[in-house]
Symmetry: C2
Subunit: 108 residues, 2 copies
């Protein structure tokens, strides 16, 4: 359900995630780390929240954001499997080549 590709699809969001991997951060801290406005950061946080990649908690007037490791782990693992299979196929082609003396069939 969570769209990890959407979550990772923007470099600001990737930087936010990198920040959060060290320690949880308040929105204020995140905003201060970028050159764009607070509402712009909030929109990125909302996308990450929508995709369940981060969680939000309240502490007085602050909002604290954290990585959602459970979801991250599952979705990244799926993504990694997909990408792994893409590269895998090259090895299969190489194997075929070694065995049968051809790389691709049909088109070349």
């Amino acid at each position: 359900m969570p769209d990890i590709y959407r979550a990772l699809g923007d470099s600001t969001r990737r930087r936010i995630l990198s920040m959060l991997k060290q320690e949880n951060k308040t929105q204020k801290e995140i905003v201060e780390a970028f050159a764009i406005s607070q509402p712009a950061i909030k929109k990125h946080l909302n996308i990450l929240l929508e995709e369940n990649i981060i969680t939000e908690s309240l502490k007085g007037k602050y909002r604290i954001y954290s990585l959602n490791f459970n979801v991250l782990q599952i979705t990244l693992q799926e993504m990694h499997q997909f990408t792994g299979e893409l590269l895998d196929s090259q090895l299969v082609s190489l194997k075929k080549y070694v065995e049968k003396g051809e790389v691709q069939d049909e088109h070349d």
Copy 2:
């Protein structure tokens, strides 16, 4: 330079890449595998070409598309490093916890 996140950011494009991992395909074959129009597929192919994730070659009236394994490998490896570091940090936190009896500092 190639934006692998953009390339993978759409499920149609991911399906196209999956198709190409088996064998090279003509545009016609790709179009026939989807329920959307030829120009729509062409746009996706153009994005994959822009990001250098696939290559195009001519064969008579056909256009043959192939995975660009070189670029794929490099960009996916970078992506995987990024995502690996995200999850890694949890292990570091766990390690800290085991060693010092705390998980996070500052915010909780």
